[in-house]
């Protein structure tokens, strides 16, 4: 892929890579930046502003959740306005609210490799009820240090992160089945498993014999959403790229694209492109679960972290799991099949009826559409074309409905509008192509800017897509927004797909590199949104629910300050008796019971961070003063007219001094009449 991009860049140095659509393969540069407006004029509908305008004070129709890619976060945008509503930190420390910095949330980022505060987040997937997004949770994957996380959509906070053992590059993940029975996570890079929770120290030339992949089956508690790794299937040592679940007739199945069926360990760009065909792996998840339950699963030692945020104390705890169960496909007939797919396939997308599986072959000139009913028939008839590691390979012709001919260059992903149309991104030719599932003919094309990866239609992967909008996530942003140096926000483009022809209606910048997105109607999420945490339900062991209960205690070299914040003061705000080198734990409880009044807490010279405490919650900031003196602390989040006055002092005395521990807030004293007093 990289070389292709480079070639294109050389051919068109201004890099406005618009495809001459009719020619199909000729590339044309727009040249002079001044004329680039032409592309805009052609593509943008004249009523675009009206179509995306959400008046001040009004709300968007939809929430959309865009993965942040290399920033490890999820960003939430309103649609159609493209307004950024929130950034949710998942696999990364977050300087806005102290996630991963404060003592309560540090455990969320623990792994068997230690504290890993930055990961690559690829795919958000909404939880489902009866095949439709239900607005309860969002599952996302950490790609680099394999993890799956769950975000609770009541609070828009990450509440659970589970490390995935026997995985390396958790890319085809996390895909929920239609009632969240399982969330599936597959490995992108295969590794030589040592069957003890780690990888073997082997020569890289032994790839073919020793490397394996894994598909993890994560069980989801139907009421609370808590995850549990039920079992894994150890699969041949290919690279597993993307996944998608079936629906309707294919409800029991999940599909994974694979590449590097050559099992090459080096220069994969070339080595993994030798075979004419790679595979689509089809797994009957229900049968797999049955095999696992019936005792076909074996157990091996493992070592992985499972981190959960407690609802009441807002405190995360890690558990280390020591075993994992696994199935081998060769022991489980009927559980897994391979379908020959075009070279280096990327996206696999199942249409709303559950009958068609579209495989997007990055390097293929046509887009094959498989038929689920034909696949069933081929299995029944044992229409096989050999086998790999005991897994039958089905005959291409036996499972194919047909191919979309010359769809464009570099098909990556497809989504559906629920009206019989599919939309595919063409990475190399920078366009979205609309085609019909019925006759596989191209119906419309729209240039996008530039190099689109995923595209998303709200509910586009469910039974009933909300076929009004499509968001296309582009990898390259140059010339869409004012320049900001070498690094640009990636662009997303909103396209109206309600009519026959696609209409471009909005460009908006996205944070880091979104890989995929999901969207849901606002009324499925907004009514459940938590506005503050009930102080009565705060079970944090260091919580102080009443100013008269604040305390300060020394235990060896640790000083604990259990304090409160409310508009516009801290209690206590005068603290003495701390010594150089003490570990001071500020446990701050926000006493507010009101929406949108978090209080911040920052102390001068803290080497860790600041924190932000939601109304009704308790958060802890750890501070080790290194020198004697007076250190101010203050609230960092504007809270009232007297916000600036919301501060206090800590006196730090030399080690071994005899300053007693004292703390206070205010003395009774006459308050001068307010200067702004009204008679």
């Amino acid at each position: 892929m990289e070389t292709l991009i480079n070639k294109l860049k050389k051919a068109a140095p201004r890099a406005t890579l618009l495809m001459a659509l009719a020619a199909g393969s000729t590339l044309q540069s727009c040249g002079d930046p001044d004329t680039k407006g032409n592309a805009k004029d052609d593509a943008v509908a004249s009523n675009a502003a009206e179509a995306v305008y959400v008046a001040p004070g009004e709300h968007d129709e939809l929430y959309s959740f865009l993965s942040g890619g290399f920033n490890g976060q999820v960003s939430v945008y309103g649609l159609p306005s493209g307004r950024l509503l929130k950034i949710i930190p998942v696999f990364t420390q977050f300087a806005e609210n102290g996630y991963g910095y404060n003592e309560e949330s540090k455990a969320m980022l623990q792994t068997s490799h230690g504290f890993v505060p930055w990961d690559d987040l690829h795919h958000p997937k909404l939880s489902r009820t009866d095949g439709m997004a239900d607005g309860r949770w969002l599952f996302v994957n950490g790609n680099n240090t394999p993890r799956v996380a769950r975000v609770d959509l009541k609070t828009f906070e990450t509440v659970e992160i589970m490390e995935i053992p026997n995985s390396a590059g958790n890319h085809c993940s996390p895909y929920p089945t239609n009632n969240n029975e399982y969330v599936l996570a597959g490995t992108r890079f295969s590794v030589p498993l040592d069957m003890k929770g780690g990888t073997q120290d082997v020569s890289l030339s032994d790839y073919k014999d020793k490397f394996r992949g894994s598909i993890s089956f994560i069980k989801v508690d139907p009421e609370h959403g808590d995850m549990e790794l039920d079992f894994q299937i150890l699969v041949p040592g290919f690279d597993y790229d993307l996944a998608n679940g079936g629906k309707g007739p294919s409800n029991d199945w999940v599909f994974f694209t694979t590449y590097n069926t050559e099992k090459s360990a080096t220069l994969k760009e070339l080595g993994a492109s030798q075979n004419d065909r790679d595979y689509l792996a089809a797994i009957n998840w229900k049968l797999a679960a049955k095999y696992a339950a019936e005792g076909k699963a074996k157990e091996m030692p493992a070592n992985y972290y499972h981190n959960k945020m407690d609802h009441g104390s807002h405190t995360a705890k890690s558990t280390v799991k020591k075993t994992v169960r696994y199935l081998l496909p060769e022991d489980c007939p009927g559980m897994m099949y391979l379908l020959p797919a075009p070279k280096s396939p990327h996206g696999i997308d199942v249409d709303p009826t559950g009958e068609y599986m579209v495989v997007n072959g990055k390097l293929a000139s046509s887009l094959p559409v498989f038929s689920f009913s034909k696949m069933q028939k081929a299995i029944e008839d044992k229409d096989f074309d050999g086998e790999v590691n005991g897994i039958p390979v089905l005959k291409y012709e036996s499972v194919l409905k047909g191919e979309v001919k010359e769809p464009g260059l570099g098909p990556l992903h497809t989504e559906f509008d629920g009206k019989g149309n599919a939309y595919s991104t063409m990475f190399v030719s920078s366009e979205v192509v609309k085609w019909s599932l019925e006759d596989l003919q191209v119906k419309d094309r729209m240039p996008v800017y530039y190099s689109p990866g995923h595209l998303m239609i709200p509910g586009g992967d469910t039974r009933e897509p909300y076929g009004k909008y499509m968001v296309v996530m582009n990898k390259i942003t140059k010339d869409r927004f004012l320049p900001t140096g070498p690094e640009l926000m990636h662009s997303a483009q909103l396209i109206d797909i309600s009519g026959e022809k696609m209409k471009m209606i909005l460009d908006f910048p996205t944070v880091a590199e979104p890989h995929y997105a999901q969207a849901i109607k606002a009324d499925l999420v907004a009514p459940n949104s938590v506005k503050f945490f009930k102080l009565d339900e705060n079970t944090h062991p260091e919580a102080v629910k009443n100013e008269k209960d604040v305390s300060m205690t020394r235990n060896g070299r640790t000083v604990k300050v259990n304090m409160t914040s409310i508009r516009s003061h801290f209690t206590p705000d005068n603290i003495e008796g701390v010594q150089v080198g003490d570990t001071v734990l500020f446990h701050v409880t926000n006493l507010e019971q009101d929406w949108d009044v978090p209080h911040g807490f920052a102390v001068m010279g803290a080497n860790n961070a600041e924190t932000l405490i939601m109304p009704g919650a308790t958060q802890t900031l750890r501070w080790v003063p290194k020198q004697a003196g007076i250190f101010p602390f203050y609230c960092t989040d504007f809270c009232s007219a007297l916000h600036q006055e919301m501060q206090g002092y800590v006196r730090v005395s030399p080690r071994g001094s005899n300053v007693p521990i004292t703390f206070s807030t205010g003395e009774k004293k006459p308050v001068p009449p307010a200067s702004a007093s009204v008679n």
Binding site: F532, L535, K545, N546, E547, K548, T564, I566, R567, S568, H569, T571, L591, E592, Q593, D594, W595, V597, S640, A641, L642, G666, K668, V671, A674, S675, A676, S677, V678
Partner: protein
């Protein structure tokens, strides 16, 4: 600051049309603001005063405040059990900002509040503080004086009634 001075000028244009008192006031203000950036305290002071006094037609004020509480039955004596309940709520949700004496901390001291205000007003202030400081003339003045928006502690009508009883008890103690 210049903008603020201009804002003050604009705000006084309306009252200027209404007779001598306003004119006098206005003349003073113009004097201040023509001093440009120097006398900022005075500008702010007068701006607050004007914002709450000018422009709007006087609201009919029955002293009950704005909110869900229209009438409250208050007994002759104090319901001690209810007051005790109120005390617990007060300590958890109110004492961070209010003293039971006449001492101001963040908000006003509450000694004598049940004599100054109608019971309905007190409960509405507890339940509905944002609307009160926007719409009720007395609450508006208090915001001007204390400059901190009273916190909405999401107190139920039932709990507000208990708080009222506790404040009544506080006021009968003398």
């Amino acid at each position: 600051m210049k903008n603020q001075a201009e804002k003050v000028k604009k705000m006084i244009m309306k009252p200027l049309q209404f007779g001598a008192v306003a004119l006098l006031c206005g003349a003073m203000l113009v004097g201040c603001s023509s001093g440009d950036t120097e006398n900022t305290a005075a500008d702010e002071q007068e701006e607050v005063g004007l914002a709450s006094q000018a422009a709007e037609a006087p609201v009919e004020d029955d002293g009950k405040g704005v909110g869900p509480v229209k009438t409250v039955e208050v007994g002759e004596g104090i319901d001690e059990a209810l007051a005790a309940e109120g005390k617990t709520i007060f300590e958890g949700k109110c004492s961070a900002c209010h003293q039971l004496t006449d001492q101001k901390i963040v908000g006003p001291g509450l000694a004598g509040v049940t004599e100054r205000r109608k019971p309905e007003w007190i409960m509405n202030m507890i339940i509905n503080p944002e609307v009160m400081t926007k719409e009720d003339p007395t609450a508006k003045k208090l915001l001007g004086e204390h400059l901190t928006q009273m916190t909405n502690q999401n107190i139920t009508e039932e709990d507000a009634r208990a708080l009222l009883e506790f404040l009544r008890q506080n006021d009968t103690k003398g």
